[in-house]
Subunit: 653 residues, 2 copies
């Protein structure tokens, strides 16, 4: 591609994107025809970059907050990318051939929005609504409102990992030759997640992925660890298997050459280290500490110094025709069927159901954090190796890649031990902000795992996932229930979490039983129930055994299997509360944020609340057999029966 | 140190540490006198290593679970370390001069316990209680029970970061020349946290830190990403600034040389890459997939193949005399005092109080994740630069270093945005398992931060920290309250969390008011209260304004400031429930796991539960001013007043 091909600048005076002129000199370079010589092109790119700076300054000034200096350092990078390398149809953000652009340094949102304006999809009027209540142009970009944003950023160090997921889709699944461009800051390279992503990208030979680092030397509170030592970054990235190019981040020709080099490098991803100056273009702001995240003190003067407002408009190069190829699958889902009375671990059922789902649907993919033999994701990996991604022990990257794959229309299931998904908490949080549709599966729930001890026990996962916005939290107790829920979660919105158990449990339900999300199952019920035991997963079986014991001594109790922890089945819980007056929740989880709290979601509107007793894991387990663990935690059948007897005899007689 | 000096092996027949002999040949090398020649020493180290293997096999066999093959690969490393390099007084685990040893690959606990047996502090009888209910020898080592374990491991990739904290203490604070030895697996190098730690260690020039990587090629479910490509690891670590030595991990002389090289390398940390064979010593297990985390199929045969049980005993070298020097401080705490009626952000009060605390106490240290200008940790950094640690944007490493510092008796305060502490969730979880005493401070709580948008808002932090075992969760609403709580949390056990706010809030309390942990403040109360509004932090001020409005229309309400979210003030909440019948909780947090759920902790024992209504952040915020955010989330004064009116008129009249 020649420069001429890639810079069909259009635009002109007037039109809704015509900004207020700030009194600076006029520039007309933007109207020049394609095919200009190098120096003319350089001039036009400079004009575009200056416009991006001006608009970044103006947007932050209008908002009274924001990050203009972090935008100004990367303006030349953005100009080169937008005008000469990005292939993107702004009218069709769902075009499968579109390049992907991820602004990992999400606080530089003014630069992104200024680029949107230059591309003609955001008016100057809208640009100046930056950070205002109701504006699409939020402090950090989110996909919920802007069709050209695919992933929420703003928590640093996440963009590259998501970009890896996008690049994996292009390279290994869709086989569409789009490029993924990730622009990140230098500060965020301190995040370990970046190195998980770097490792993953090089290992998968993602030469369709380019990372551009805006090395502006200054973090939020002062100099970064390596300041302008670009060699320090180069050594690290090269050691991780990347091709690395250093460039003056304000030399558009050098940046252009670097981008060309990235595009022509085969077999590995390329990192462009762009040496830049924070606040570039405004002397009072350049390379100055204390100006992070603040509008420039004198925006009008800054705009003048930058040469005033411009009317540069970029006709961004369209992508080549492409279409998404999804392997044809049976379309007919044949979930595994388990016979009641037999025993199967829910993790086994997960692996088997996911494999079946993958046979029925070509859009289902799986990722695992090097524990597929434990989570049983390995069943899927064996049957559908082309759609399985081994992420090794890097849970942040596993979730990031899942988010990236989800942006390309895949339905990812990412699994690890429930305990280790806490490692990816911030990625899950950001996935929810971006509305990413991902399935997460945490195995080895609770003390029931036995001897391995507390480090391997998921005891906080329900609390973590319940608090995630828009999440669904499922916790099956048997194999058929698991299989149904694995299939059901595929079509939900947002973050879906499934909690599985290590040990085998009896199959309670027939294979044709249905388990709507938001539902529950009443397993024991009579008109004489003295109270209701609410359980899920492992404790359902303990509750049933307790109910049998209690029945034998004339204390009938209701038992509810609350497999849908979020959303919770209000009606059934309320009915149980009205009928029996007292709820006893039993969970293999910490007392805070889990099943007990979920039950109370049904009573948070001012209606009468039943008496409530919680049995949960309150101490710190050591090593012991599963049965000993449940006993020690006071959540086994005998403990439940004892608690019920105490309650009906002493507390709620 | 000569070989002779460091290997005064003792031991002999009989005694409680005499293992059952498994029928193998006898070895007497262990009884040889010091001063042996190289080959004799090699023989003795081999004997010791074989004993470690035998005992690992036996322990896992007795337990019926565990990780013998992961122990066997590192047995020679452990033998060399224990017999020739570690300086440790097992009788005085609190000896300030002791070297620190961190088993980052915590699943290799059989090796650690076998080493304890060889050192004479664990009997053979106890060794065989491995993983049994009540045994000190848990599946993964924890400091709660074993005096020689300083940090809980078992979640991979955490040991190096904690080791960095220990090394920082020796190097920058105590200035005691102990060494920190971290033994990790190769799989765990995929964790980004390891690279955060590697960066931190090199940046701080921690030449008192040695990382030994047991490169046994096999992870849990198969080969690692880099298998035996030691050069791949060397390139990465060297690029991060480490001195790297490769060694045959079964050649005790090579390992010994490598350890000497590590000890004599100045100005940077050293990594020893030990090429090992998983399951080493038992042909049927060597380098074999599918044997991770399982006892050997035929333990007796394995013990025989390893040469049978031995009676090698190591007199581990004692450390040189050392004493902890803590700078004398005033001892007199002069907390900042704020005048009621003025306004101060609680984050400002945190920074000021922490600075004062640092002046009074020499054991208080602070860490921050490159946002000290926002969290206000920078106040402490300016006043006490010698006790401040800039961790850059690496929250996992920040918490890991805090845990490491806590093991050395320091009282660390680590701060970042509340939202970004989710990044360190797994480290917090493991800190709780290990009983580490650390203070974490999360700023920028809730939607009240305003324009920056959801990526920067701490909205899940209360749920995350409440579910941490043994945690304390504090959420002050004014500056004097903040100052008192900052001081109080220093002396608590376990993980302590303080949530601070970005914007200035009115000072409600006088500077001499006391705020016991587990308490609350009743700010409005009368005999006619129609219901109780429970608030904390930002919403306390909204609740008070609502109460004033409601009072004006004849609806008196009680207002409780629940600054201690965990533990919660049961008595005051119960009294309010009895008096007013209905609780309305208002929180700048997600509905799940936060203040509303905390209130219900007071009613989880079967006693009557009041009606409950929750106001919380249920939607996804965008950008807006703080006031607009509170309004949009329905947690501002007007929303509270409207909810109360609706409740008293319609629901609980």
């Amino acid at each position: 591609m020649t420069m001429a091909d890639s810079t069909p600048y259009g635009g002109g005076p007037g039109g809704p994107e015509d900004p207020d002129r700030a009194g600076g000199p006029e520039h007309t370079g933007a109207a020049d025809s394609p095919g200009a010589a190098g120096s003319r092109e350089r001039g036009r790119l400079h004009e575009l970059a200056q416009q991006l700076r001006v608009d970044s300054v103006r947007a932050a000034d209008a908002a009274g907050s924001g990050h203009p200096t972090s935008s100004m350092s990367a303006a030349d990078v953005m100009a080169v990318l937008l005008a000469r390398h990005l292939q993107y149809d702004f009218a069709r953000p769902d075009h499968p051939g579109n390049d992907r652009f991820v602004l990992s340094k999400g606080h530089a949102s003014p630069l992104l929005y200024a680029a949107y304006k230059a591309a003609g999809v955001v008016t100057d009027e809208e640009l100046l609504t930056f950070r205002a209540h109701g504006s699409r142009l939020e402090g950090h970009p989110t996909p919920r409102r802007l069709p050209w944003v695919e992933v929420a950023t703003g928590s640093l160090g996440q963009g590259l990992g998501v970009g890896v997921g996008m690049a994996l889709s292009g390279k290994r699944l869709d086989r569409i030759p789009y490029r993924v461009w990730v622009l990140c800051g230098d500060s965020e390279l301190a995040e370990g997640a970046v190195w998980e992503a770097a490792e993953h990208a090089a290992y998968e030979r993602l030469d369709n992925l380019t990372l551009i680092v805006d090395v502006n030397r200054l973090g939020q509170r002062g100099p970064t660890r390596h300041e302008w030592d670009l060699d320090a970054y180069e050594r690290r990235l090269a050691a991780f298997g990347w091709h690395v190019v250093q460039a003056d981040g304000h030399d558009t020709e050098a940046l252009d050459r670097a981008c060309h080099e990235a595009r022509s490098t085969a077999g590995r991803p390329t990192a462009i280290l762009a040496r830049t100056v924070k606040g570039r273009g405004v002397a009072a702001a350049e390379n100055r500490e204390g100006l992070h995240g603040k509008p420039l003190p004198d925006a009008d003067a800054a705009v003048r110094e930058l040469g005033g407002a411009r009317r540069v408009r970029v006709d961004v190069q369209a992508p080549p025709a492409a279409r998404t190829l999804r392997a044809t699958r049976s379309g007919h889902l044949e979930l595994p069927r388990y016979e009641t009375g037999t025993e199967t671990a829910t993790r086994d059922a997960f692996g088997q159901a996911l494999t079946a789902l993958g046979s029925a649907r070509g859009d289902v993919v799986a990722l695992d954090g090097e524990v597929g033999d434990s989570t049983r994701a390995e069943y899927f990996a064996k049957e559908h190796p082309d759609r399985f991604f081994e992420c090794y022990i890097a849970e942040q990257q596993m979730v990031a890649a899942a988010v990236g794959l989800a942006t390309r229309g895949w339905v990812p299931y990412a699994s690890s031990f429930a305990a280790f998904l806490t490692r990816a908490h911030d990625f899950v949080r950001m996935a929810a902000i971006g509305g990413a549709g991902i399935n997460l599966v945490g195995s080895h729930a609770g003390v029931a795992i036995g001897q391995d001890g507390p480090s391997q026990m998921g005891l906080e996962d329900l609390a973590m996932f319940r608090a995630v916005h828009g999440s669904t939290v499922l916790y099956p107790c048997d194999a058929n229930q698991t299989a149904r829920l694995v299939a059901a979660m595929a079509d939900l919105d947002g973050v879906r979490y499934l909690r599985t158990s290590r040990g085998a449990t009896p199959v309670l339900y027939g294979p044709d039983e249905e388990f709507p999300v938001g539902g529950s199952k009443v397993l024991r019920s009579s008109g004489d129930d003295r109270l209701t035991v609410v359980a899920a997963g492992t404790t359902v079986h303990e509750a049933l055994a307790a109910a049998d014991t209690l029945d034998g001594v004339g204390i009938p109790v209701r038992v509810i299997d609350l497999y849908s922890v979020k959303p919770v089945d209000r009606n059934t819980l309320r009915e149980a509360a009205e009928s029996t007056g007292c709820l006893l929740t039993v969970e293999d989880h910490r007392q805070e944020g889990g099943l007990g709290d979920a039950v109370l979601d049904a009573f948070g509107d001012g209606s009468p609340v039943p008496r409530l007793v919680r049995l949960a894991v309150t101490g710190m387990p050591g090593s012991a057999s599963p049965a000993e663990q449940l006993r020690a935690a006071g959540i086994d059948a005998e403990s439940i029966a004892a608690a019920v007897r105490l309650l009906v005899e002493r507390v709620v007689p």
